[in-house]
Every structure is written in structure tokens, then in C-alpha cells.
Symmetry: C2
Subunit: 243 residues, 2 copies
Amino acid sequence: MTYCVAMRLDTGLLFASDSRTNAGVDHIATFRKMHVFEQPGKRLIVLLSAGNLATTQSVVSLLRQRLDDDAVNLYNVATLYDAAALVGNTVKEVVARYASEGTLGQGVDFGANFIVGGQIRGETTRLFQVYPQGNFIETCEDTPYFQIGESKYGKPIIDRVVRSDTSLPEAAKCTLISFDSTIRSNLSVGLPIDMLLYGADTFAPAAPHRIDGDDPYFNKLRRGWGEGLRRVFAKLPDADWFE
Amino acid sequence: MTYCVAMRLDTGLLFASDSRTNAGVDHIATFRKMHVFEQPGKRLIVLLSAGNLATTQSVVSLLRQRLDDDAVNLYNVATLYDAAALVGNTVKEVVARYASEGTLGQGVDFGANFIVGGQIRGETTRLFQVYPQGNFIETCEDTPYFQIGESKYGKPIIDRVVRSDTSLPEAAKCTLISFDSTIRSNLSVGLPIDMLLYGADTFAPAAPHRIDGDDPYFNKLRRGWGEGLRRVFAKLPDADWFE
């Protein structure tokens, strides 16, 4: 499985992805699920992927090898909306190819989910979630984040903390706690985590940060969060209706 | 959907269930998912149910109307193991009846999950999870709890807090926090919560406690937990690798 989160905040965008893939429990590997398309000063488009690895890799490879084409590609689409549509169409193209080759069925789910976000000069930052069917939705002020993959374990802390006006460093902190909860409860999500923070309107070179098991900040956070939770828990009263 | 939790601790058993059922989002109702079979002084058997409501209700009705039969029933099985097997066989019986009547298929999942726990005089407390196929597993010291239904949102807090030697009141506190996280993030789980705490070897009459939206303890807990989390979160440092 996979766990990816992206947030569109007033001051910028956050992207985070784990890097564990598995085909069954005995075939586990590490693959990057964050894919950056950037032209510093002009545009940044970040893709996060979940689902069938052959499908997501095909989609990203096709998107990348077409960057020099004259046809529509991620470096010449006019808006992030068009970028999301292009990703959706490429997902459909790959799955249609499987269908025509007789690859579909066989009890395998060939579907893929993507999060597509970034900023193209002339637009504000935007963030989309692309479904396996190729259609997509965009964040709004009430719901400024998307998750794909194993989203449930880490959702409560995001629901409690993140609003549109949350700062990027706070959002990063919340996201790492969300990953910690997920990794503790689900074997199919694993380190390292890739995290990219983008300040709105900066068009600066995007530098994903890789967080591994020996990352001092992540370890301080996990320890502090775990101890803090237990402290809060211990201070809360027991029910008076029991004995 | 549904959310049920049960724990087998050194000092006793905990059972908790929400009470929301839905067939689509526009047909929501409240049904008790905790079913108590007891002979004070002799035996206590508690069932928690998740899945297709017609199936779970049929299973519980059949188990109850057979209590006076001479055949095997929940009041005459010799062990909790036999009780779990009886529940599993009754699930299979109901689903087999659907199959013979041509009810199966039609895009509906007729499956049901049960948690079966309690104590029969002569045995220690025991706790089982029964799958839709009728087979079942029992807790052990390393994994003293089972969840059925929407289990993921509320799993991290249980994984952090509950061990076999956790006290019943602490386990109750943790379980209610787990329900709070689930209810906040998932519409298909809702109040009231039924909770039953049983002290090992007491064979006392079982008194489920019903927790509704105006329960003072539950509200104090949700408020204290939410505020405590935000306090711990605010005190944790921001990443030094961001600006």
C-alpha cells in the first residue's frame, strides 16, 4: 500500500509520501512516489502516486518522455486544471492499453490514484486529486487537503489540526505525526518519507526533503508526541460510572 | 458501517460498540450492536456485530430463540471456544439459506463479522473474532484486543496505550478516545456507544452503559483529549530543515 498527503494552505503547498510498495507481504520494496516537474521561475507541478506500481510508473514515464513533444505536456499546459486533466487522461490511456492487450482482470487491481498540485505563473497554487477513472476534484477552503492510499489511521490528527491558515512548518509537523501513526499501525506504509514544502508565488527550485529512520527531527517528534499523548491520557479522569 | 472494540485484559473484559447503521447515506438508523447472553453466577457471553444488518440480526435471533432447545446453544456450550464455533456456524447457516433462496449476489455484501467474548464457569475469560466465513481467532497476550468495522481511525491510540496489564477504567478511557477519533473522521460511525466492563471471575450481572451525546464523562474526555493534543502539538518544535 502507500500513504500520501498534500495540503493547499494560504502560504503554500505541502506534499508528503511514504516509499513502501508491496506485492503480497513477501515482496516489499522502496520506490519514490513523489514526482517533481519544475521549471524554476515558471512552474512547479508535483505528483504523488498510489495504487498499482506498474500503472503509476507508466503514467509518470509517459508524462516525462512527452515533455519535449509539441503536443500537450506538463511544461506547456496553461493551468493546473489542465495538468490534472492530462494526468487523468494518461491514467486512462495506460489502463486502456492494458485492456486492449488483454492484461486486465486476472484478479489484479490495475488502478492508480494521483494527487497533482503546484503553481503555474499567472495562477495561484492549486491542488487536485485524480481518481483511477481519470476524473478529478480540487481542494477548497473547507477541505484544504487530500490523502491517497492508507489514509484512515492518520486522518484524525489532520482533521484536528489543519486549516487553510495553518503555517507550513506546523502542517509539516502535523503531517509527520500523521505518518508516524500510520506507520505504527500498518505494515504496508514505511520510511523513508519524502516531503516537499513550497512557498506560494516563490517559484523557487523545489527541494524534497527525505526523512529516514535516523532523522533527528522526526525522531524527536515521534518521541515527544508519544510521550505527550501518554501524559495527556494519564491526566484525563476515569469514568465515574465504573465502580 | 460500524465500529466495535473488545479487549481481554488481565483483570477482565471490555466491550464497546457504536449504534449507527446505514444502507447508503440516506438511510441511517440506530441499532444496538451489543448482544448479551448471561446466566449470572454461571456464564456471560457478549456478541458484538458488524456487517450486513439483516445477517447479524438473523444470527442473533437464531442464537436467542434456540436457548431453550436441547441442541447446542449459548447456554449449554461447555467453553467459549464452542460458543465462537456456534456463532460461526450460525453465520454460515444464515448465508447458506440466502444462497439456497437465491438471495445472494445482487451487488450486496451479505457478510457479517462478530466478536464473541465472556467467561464460562470453569474457564478463564476468553475473546474471539469470528470471520464471515465462520472461522475464528482468539486473542493472545501480545494482541489483547479485536476491532471490527471502521477500525483504522481509532487503532493508533489503542496500539499506543493498551497492554494486557492495562486496567479496565484506563482501557475504557482509551476506547472512548478511539471512538471519538473515529466518529470525528467517519460519518458512518455514530453515537450512542454501548460499553460493557466485566471483572474477571465475578460472574456478576452484566450492565452495559450507554453513552450518548450529552454524557458528561464522554464530553469531558473529548474536550480534554482535544485540548491536550493541541497543547502537546503546539509545544513540539518545528523542523529545522524548513527555512
